[in-house]
Amino acid sequence: MLQAERPIQAGQAGQPSLWMRLFQQWEFQLMILPAIVFLLIFNYAPMWGILLSFQEYNLFTGFWESPWVGFEHFQMFFDSPEFWNIMRNTFAISFLKLLIGFPAPIMLALMLNEIGNLFFKRIVQTITYIPHFISWVVVSGLVFSMLAVDNGAVNDTLQQFNLIEEPINWMSIPEYFWGILVTVNVWKEIGFGSIVYLAAIVGIDPSLYESASIDGASKLQQIFKITIPCIAPVIVIFLILNIGNLLNAGFEDVFVLTRNLNNGILMSVAETIDTYVYQMGILNQRFSYATAAGLFKSILSIVLLIAANGIARRLGRTSLW
């Protein structure tokens, strides 16, 4: 503190020079240096690496020697036979996750708020937060076990209630994949996602509810007329962030639930831009082509983020900037 503030007063004639100040706070600058160097290498160098999507990059010739090819890889990606299928899957999966995965934690928070029994509330919270801390690998193991054809809990239960005759091989029917993917995502993140909304609900002025119930408003009316409007700014902010992240959402889950992208039957519905980048870049070593596909996704994401923020601002509500 001292060191940081005093130097400014130290120079008797006006401001000390930049170098003087840097020298005086060298300890703090030294604390900062490693992190900045780290970010430069691990975050900024790869950003610059985006340029190689305009090259015919080869690991052995390296960046400086590889020839420039302009937009050739982008063109190739757009013209590829998989392109429209990949776009459909990417948007469908992202959109379904947003449509169901976004309101789910809000609903959970609203329901938790209605619980008077603190012990019960705490148990539900403790249990539903857990899956957030479990890796997708383990989650996939749990899913495969629950959905197993032989002695899977889901098939067993459905059979016990006579809803199905024969066990269903859930993980080999393309029509079910998006549903399973979204359900598992909600299962994993619903509890953790509710924390923020629950905190926002707790901050609402209790006198609002008191006067509403004196006026004879039912609980349900109070939720729609008081709780939801009061937490709307939080909801909007998170919605914008979610839309910006829309296309990023979910690579690991698709990866593990299709058994490392090896489940051939499912790939027609599971191939997204992210899995495609991985397959083309890491497995096939077509670095430039894969980077181009990845960059295309980043640009789409940024466009979505800006659009979502613009719409939110125009509606006169909260915006990110």
Partner: protein, 295 residues
């Protein structure tokens, strides 16, 4: 105040929905735990759900005596311990300096860091940079990957900003350097925030499996979660066991199944998290809130 009939009905429904939600969240973990303690051959007869029917420790015995799994476990533990310590060291120093007034270039540093939260180069450029830095296939990569988490920097900084000035000034008068002040005065009183962020970082490192899968080729350097992807996707006992060492091969194949081994491995990889979870829970709600307010 009396509740109307509608309100009562709604309350009952909410209790029921939440009870069901808690059950379907809890059951897969419980069932896997039960199956990991049940003889594999007995499990395949069906009907094992809430309690082991034919109790055995065999599955765990195989997992713990299997050299490859043990090695992977060791890598995971080493990575989690070293990685958390290194990450906390550099992250906290960075955040501490950024919490001081009058730091030259502070604004630039902040923007420089926060920018990385929203933009990145993507998987392939990252891979190529790592490859050229000779970090491909090294333990160093496992430590360095994600070392500076800007989210954590923000939480640390928010905490340091709230510390009273007087604390540090008195130490400075006693002739402490700024590093001395940080390590002797600031660190000891930052227990809760350190605990929270260490636990978050540790959980991240413990669970991270994808980047090791892409960046580590050497089977001796693969962490447990990454190896588990292979184990979970193994089709038959024969291929699983032929991939494992001789001890497993000597075991009577009939009593152990792929599934029972998978369950035991999953539990071994998950139980440490479930054990620290109660300690984690005390802190993380606060951590999440500080982080999200800053967004």
């Amino acid at each position: 105040m009396k509740l109307s009939l509608g309100d009562k009905l709604m309350r009952v429904m909410i209790y029921m929905i939440l009870a069901v939600l808690a059950f379907i969240t809890f059951y897969p973990f419980w069932n896997s735990l039960v199956l990991s303690f049940n003889t594999g051959s007995d499990t395949s007869l069906g009907g094992v759900s809430f309690w082991p029917r034919d109790f055995t420790l065999e599955n765990y015995q195989i997992v713990f005596e299997e050299k490859k799994i043990f090695q992977a476990y060791l890598i995971t533990i080493l990575r989690t311990l070293v990685g958390t310590a290194v990450a906390m060291f550099f992250t906290s120093l960075f955040a501490y300096a950024l919490s001081k007034k009058g730091i030259v270039f502070k604004k630039f540093y902040m923007i420089f860091a926060v920018f990385t939260m929203f933009f990145n180069g993507g998987l392939i450029p990252y891979f190529i940079v790592m490859y050229h830095l000779n970090l491909y296939n090294t333990f160093a990569f496992l430590i360095l990957h994600g070392l500076i988490n800007v989210y954590n920097v923000i939480i640390f900084r928010t905490f340091f900003l709230e510390l009273p000035d007087g604390l540090e000034e008195s130490a400075k008068i006693d002739g402490c350097t700024n590093f001395g002040v940080f390590f002797r005065i600031v660190l000891p009183i930052s227990g809760p925030v350190f605990a929270t962020l260490s636990l978050f970082t540790a959980v991240f490192l413990w669970n991270d499996w994808f980047f090791p899968a892409v960046f580590i080729n050497d089977q001796n350097l693969i962490p447990l979660q990454t190896m588990m992807v292979q184990i979970i996707n193994e089709g038959t006992t024969a291929t699983l066991i032929s991939n494992l060492n001789t001890y497993a091969q000597n075991l009577v194949e009939n009593s152990v199944t792929v599934r029972s081994i998978q369950m035991a491995t999953m539990m071994v990889a998950t139980l440490p998290i479930l054990f620290i979870y109660p300690f984690l829970q005390r802190f993380f709600v606060k951590g999440v809130l500080v982080g999200s307010l800053k967004e």
